[in-house]
Symmetry: C2
Subunit: 142 residues, 2 copies
Amino acid sequence: MEVEKAYLSGLELVEDSKIVMVSNNGEDGYPYTKAMMRLKHDGLYKFWLSTNTSSKRVQLFKNDNRANLYFVDENSFKGLMLVGTIEVLQDRESKEMLWSEGCEIYYPLGIDDPDYTVLCFTAAWGSFYQGLENTGFKIDEK
Amino acid sequence: MEVEKAYLSGLELVEDSKIVMVSNNGEDGYPYTKAMMRLKHDGLYKFWLSTNTSSKRVQLFKNDNRANLYFVDENSFKGLMLVGTIEVLQDRESKEMLWSEGCEIYYPLGIDDPDYTVLCFTAAWGSFYQGLENTGFKIDEK
């Protein structure tokens, strides 16, 4: 598959996905994976996710920001892996930007809930899988 | 959630899943995630998966066997994470045990296709997520 097509197919898969699998390095040296809601993104370059400040993951990302985002369609067996880093954001602007109706379920005190944290993932490269074929590509700000 | 219930709910999620997300440590220090077919398992303790011998992952697992299996139901937002190790098996018994009709798509030469490898994952512990709650449990052979 051509790189351009792989990028666009990956983007389509992102748009069609409600969730994303986020992986990080555990402090025990094992990879850890967890599904999160796919909230906001800028192409395949930036992804903003929300999580609980109190979660162990936030602390882990502060120590080791290397991460993996994975999107999958199990029916067509397409997969997109993005490799990059995650930044932990706790400024009000980021928290307002990502806030939407329904977030109160997770953060009952609202935008200023101290347990509300924004994670910003920046991709360095990606790989799109379809039809037994992997196509890798670099990702830059556009 | 009680541990026993979390284990059984996790097992139910496994049975309902066609695919599993498999994560490993990349040689660059980043976690890598990929979906694989959920083929055969023994409770939450052992999972057998098939892959291409030529894949980079097989070599990586020989050097670093730490892995993560993740199952998710995006509709009910249940998730099961299993942490453990992966063994690379290339003996005929294992390859026969996992072989089924349709495998020829991936391994055209059949059971003895040198590009056919069995991965055996052994879980040490798991964590089941449902309703904003994580329940962790150890996993032993039963």
